[in-house]
Symmetry: C2
Subunit: 374 residues, 2 copies
């Protein structure tokens, strides 16, 4: 630590992203990437001419990109803010609308970055416990004295709050800002985007990192009232005006317009999620019904931390959280069908080994059914 | 403005980047872009495989990129911080090391963003007037009670402070941070990078937007002590861990390694700067001797604001600043030789028209020599 670091930051706990080991090939199901490539239109968009064009500054107002997003989501350009990943968009929301010491509420089980943000910006954070089944009860948020942020679907549970409930919350508290992080909403059935331009106290944040298969491109956007977007742009122009480079925006424009590819990829993930959930349940897993591109699950015969470690030995990365309320579970991203088949086989072998079930002459499935009691 | 905007930001003045009109083709010499493409290695690096790879998160530690920068500049990876443009790097410096109300000093004539930053972060800024010839006298900074930031070469003047003077300043004040913005240093003869790992209170900031012809890619980096870099990374991981996307880093790695191309492009710009300066002087311009990829100049027969406007009518963008001490001058970026020839012709025509010099039968140059008294 240097002698110059601002005191408030000395005890800060930076966010810890999912690991990216490089020692051998891995099936990477620990960071909710989708294992599918960006839209073919993205490959076309990053032409040699576009690369040449990198020599000139990109449009800091992101006019073309914001217009494209606006058209796809049925809003206007000035209701769209675009950023270098949803994390940056959220940072700009926090920077614009939260002063040190202000109150912010979020569920105790949700995307870990909200806690990091709250500490970074010196906010008075309060975590509202989710129910025993991990669901968020909107009534817990109705009469609070501060702003609220949560992910819907929630991470790492995959559970959702009905949009009608969110509308009640937003309507009841017009002077409190509600930030809904819809990173996984494309895998769900509902979205708050329709409400974001109707209520001036609602901000909906989206990302290209999940359903658009572009985690490495790091594009995020917010849809909100014109005033909110204008405020955020003012902050952006005071922090880093050129936050999206020209190639990134070209990729983003191509991707956002390709609605057919989005639907196709989302449908594939939903099918794989259904198949994988059933496979897990068949061998005795408890799986929380997910509306996202991951499942949160556990098996009574093996600690999730151990399962995570053993899967890693087999070259499969999943995510285990050490938090008290989460440590029982394992979060597994939904990838391609082939990847999920490999995971199922690996898990079955781990369960067999764990149970010490012999009987080499019996079939794999028969031995497995004995060990998991299925 | 929304009701939610933090009070401190209500009167903020966001930075105004150089204009990017799209109504017709322009020779763009208003934002110190170089009119040359990125290295051919960048075109190779952005392969189809690299685009496919956008589906996975990039390395938030930027290991490969930082290593490449470190090797080129003769430092170690942990002495390199990389960011989404030098503006973001500077923002992280300010965020990490400056608390609201802290004192910051910079020249009254320099990159306009320092003022924006100081306001954004609520700093107590004090502008130190440069001399009448626009030079910075290091003695003005020797006994101050606060941190210092300046550009070297300075913008928009192109003048430099000798590195030996900066070393004196840094050595004399070990508890005060000195930030040297070397955006244009490749066009100069000196750099503070050699000092940055020697003195724990010096931060040197660089960009790929100028000498590497990649303004649209928006990559910047800082070289400083391990402690400074470690602090900045801590802040980055609390704000936006994935601040550089995978394609951007691939482009950056390819560009930074291509030292030959860098030298070739820099030499071209220096040659063009010399040629253009002489051409301007020949027709009566006063040109400040520049060590950057632009010249700061004026002509006694035409107001610079008018010249800027008339050049724009001819499809040539230059930059005029309205500030009292700057308004006499015009900043013209050095582009290709063809572009600079076009500028010279356009300026000559404007001067002729301005002087109302007739004499169609005389040669262009003869008429011009009469009008400018050369």
């Amino acid at each position: 630590m240097s002698i110059f670091l601002v005191d408030e930051y000395k005890d800060m706990e930076p966010y810890v992203p999912g690991e990216q080991p490089k020692d051998k090939p891995y099936i990477k199901l620990n960071a909710n990437e989708t294992s599918m490539p960006p839209s073919p239109k993205v490959f076309e968009a990053i032409s040699k001419a576009e690369i040449w064009n990198m020599s000139y500054y990109a449009d800091p107002h992101c006019h073309e990109f914001r217009t494209a997003v606006a058209e796809v989501y049925g809003v206007t350009e000035d209701e769209v803010f675009v950023g270098n990943g949803a994390d940056e968009v959220l940072s700009f929301v926090l920077m614009s609308f939260f002063r040190r010491g202000m109150k912010i509420y979020f569920p105790d089980i949700t995307y870990g970055f909200y806690r990091t943000y709250a500490k970074t910006y010196g906010l008075d954070m309060e975590e509202i416990p989710v129910k025993d089944d991990f669901s968020i009860d909107i009534n817990d948020y109705m009469n609070l004295e501060g702003d609220i942020i949560f992910a819907n679907p929630n991470n790492p549970t995959g559970l959702t709050v009905p949009v009608a409930d969110i509308e009640k919350l937003v309507r009841k508290n017009p002077n409190r800002m509600v930030i809904v992080d819809e990173a996984y909403a494309d895998y769900s059935t509902e979205s708050c985007i329709g409400l974001a331009t109707k209520y001036p106290n609602l901000v909906v944040v989206r990302t290209f990192s999940k359903s658009r298969n572009m985690a490495g491109t790091h594009i995020g956007f917010a849809i909100a009232s014109k005033d909110i977007v204008s405020d955020m742009n003012k902050i952006k122009f005071s922090f880093n005006p050129f936050n999206l480079n020209s190639v990134t925006m070209a990729a983003g424009i191509a991707a956002v317009k390709d609605t057919d590819y989005l639907k196709e990829c989302v449908n594939t993930i939903i099918k794989n999620r259904k198949w994988f959930t059933r496979e897990l349940e068949n061998i005795g897993f408890d799986v929380i019904p997910s509306k996202a591109n991951f499942v949160f699950c556990y098996h009574k015969n093996v600690e999730s931390e151990e399962l995570c470690r053993k899967l890693k030995e087999e070259g499969i990365l999943t995510r285990h959280f050490a938090d008290e309320r989460l440590k029982k579970y394992l979060r597994i991203t939904i990838g391609t069908r082939q990847e999920m088949m490999a995971v199922v086989i690996a898990i079955k072998e781990i369960l067999l080994e764990k149970a010490g079930v012999d009987g080499e002459t019996e079939s794999f499935d028969l031995r497995l059914s004995k060990c998991v009691g299925a």
